[in-house]
Symmetry: C2
Subunit: 342 residues, 2 copies
DNA sequence: TCTGATTGAGTAAACGTTTACGTTGATTAC
DNA sequence: GTAATCAACGTAAACGTTTACTCAATCAGA
């Protein structure tokens, strides 16, 4: 008997009718407005609402309040390890604050980023957390007065949009310092560009450390991927080429774990022992560094804190408060593993 | 001058006023209702709507139509590799059909699964795609007439909820057959339980293959993780214990890649060469099998097809159509890599 | 020229809430 | 005894849409 169609759920009106009061009173009770009803009425209403499994119609509520208790999460690709972890924490945090989150994959396409922004606006989201895959945010986003906060990446034109970033520079410093303290004399740096990241933060951290320890900065030891292949392949090739030159090397700091992994595989194939002959540190604390053999030391970012901070800032903005500051930095941390053992 | 507050966007009313027609006409034009306006009016309205950047208020639309063009995606944990890939495809597919998707992490807790279901109902989602982390769906979900489809996992009480599953049994068959064809005589099976999965599908595929090739099924060669540790650790321990017994082994089929990875590391540490002395096949095509050295052969599921099918079924249900069938199976595939080379 | 259909609109109700404003009856203050 | 206060509620408008009804003008067909 699939005759009955739509589930027309019980509404505030039904409850009013059943308990014999007006909708206004029901609304007041259900929303815990301080006064406007007796304790007796309150209990009656609550009992009825409960027994009928009342759940308030968000569309109506949104319409009236111009508030939807939803936010959008725009990111390049949720299947990315780091992003999905961020998504987890953001959803968790937002849920605790009674917000639901829409997920939007831009695939790094400006067009899609734009479209999502409009769609989300239309859906009446109260705010947007954005991990932009682009070097610059689209105009739609930076103009307009939708609360937006950028996390993890920092496009060039954020204007007055608050952002939360990882302290990559210091992370790189820690990695390089670690190699130096472990006795490395000639440390190779493998960098890569990623849209939205402050371009040379990681390289600068590497240079900072070398300088701090009185080492000479040799540009020959700074290699860059050009993005033509997956990180670990390209890194492998870069290292292979570099090794042909017979420069002395006893340490490698790669600006991402996949590259570190590629480097590891390459030097191993050349008969170089890690960590005995050469030590390696990566960046990201991803599966690449964890599963490699030997396990690769790395710099960890803190996705949970990154997410939480982003959410906190957004929540404030959605309540029309000015966030405490425009720029937030989340610390990074060295994780020592086998690849840099003394 | 942060004086102006809310963004009160331009509404259908504004457009009506500006173009000098009624809201009904504007609505008809904007929704492409076949008739009810002249071409001239149509163009005027479209032009105005466009120039003011009109975007329809979804809350109002939802309220009126009892349709929100949103769906919920309930899953245990979006940070899981496989799930986040599914989420990517689902979002992509749904977006093409003008649905936005809410993401909900249950952390395998029944309580949360329930709550999300109610929240989503309240938000008026038109349907729900569910990867339940539980052995049984909560009652809230199986009763009620919200369109729901289960994918990837198959709780015991799906009642009349359609589901889309991977053909795990055949995948396991392929894996085992592959080892047999590569000359393995003594194949160890490492299984694990996961809530919501048909419990022994993978083990049965293993047994099917042994029988098909006239091999004896020796229960001693069937090991099970008890879930006390991460897969790869537990698997490593299981294999280590097993090896002490001096049973002959020249092949291992692990029902997940992490376990295969653990097994690989263990046998390598015992001086056994892979694939020369022993061949290994995993299941999942995850990073574990891809990054291992040697790379581990594995059984791939097809998250894209899984997701697409789930979406298609849900879309049908949301249009009040009866889905073609209740049970959908997505094929699995053997990926040959180094760990099972001849 | 009259009838009936068609076209191009407008009117107004409805969706489920929230909330400003009334209203009533009881209580308090003087 | 009267005025002011207050608690407990009801009334009705409003949020932005969609859509079932109207309605007037035009037009085709006889």
């Amino acid at each position: 008997m699939p005759s009955e169609k739509k589930k027309s759920a019980v509404s505030i009106k039904d409850i009013a009718r059943i308990t014999g009061v007006s909708v206004a009173t029901v609304s007041r009770v259900l929303n815990n407005k301080g006064s406007g009803y007796s304790e007796e009425t309150r209990e009656k209403i609550l009992a009825v609402a409960d027994s009928f499994g009342y759940v308030s119609n968000m569309a109506a509520k949104s319409l009236k309040e111009s508030k939807s208790y939803t936010v959008g999460l725009i990111l390049p690709n949720i299947s990315n390890d780091f992003f999905s972890t961020i998504a987890l924490y953001i959803e968790e945090y937002m849920e605790q604050h009674h917000y639901s989150v829409f997920i939007c994959n831009t695939a790094n396409q400006e067009q899609k980023e734009k479209e999502y922004f409009r769609t989300l606006s239309g859906r009446g989201v109260d705010g947007i957390i954005c991990i932009s895959g682009l070097n610059a945010l689209s105009d739609d986003i930076i103009t307009g007065n939708m609360p937006v906060v950028c996390i993890d990446r920092h496009p060039e034109n954020t204007k007055n949009i608050p952002w939360v970033m990882n302290d990559d520079r210091h992370g790189s410093y820690l990695a390089t310092e670690h190699l130096i303290k472990r006795g490395c004399q000639h440390i190779l740096y493998i960098g890569s560009y990623t849209a939205g990241y402050k371009k040379f933060e990681r390289e600068e951290g590497y240079i900072d450390a070398l300088k701090a320890y009185g080492r000479r900065v040799d540009r020959n030891y700074i290699l860059y991927e050009n993005g033509s292949k997956p990180h670990f392949r390209e890194s492998a090739d870069l290292v292979r080429e570099f090794m042909k030159e017979d420069y002395p090397v006893d340490g490698i700091f790669a600006s991402n774990d996949a590259a570190a992994y590629g480097a590891l595989r390459t030097v191993q194939s050349l008969g170089i022992r890690v960590p005995e002959d050469l030590k390696i540190v990566g960046f990201d604390d991803s599966v690449y560094s964890r599963l490699a053999s030997p396990a690769i030391s790395t710099i960890a970012r803190h996705p949970e804190e990154l997410s939480r901070t982003g959410c906190k800032v957004l929540l404030e903005m959605m309540e029309d408060k000015e966030p405490e500051k425009r720029e937030w930095t989340i610390s990074t941390e060295l994780i020592e593993r086998e690849s840099s053992q003394a």
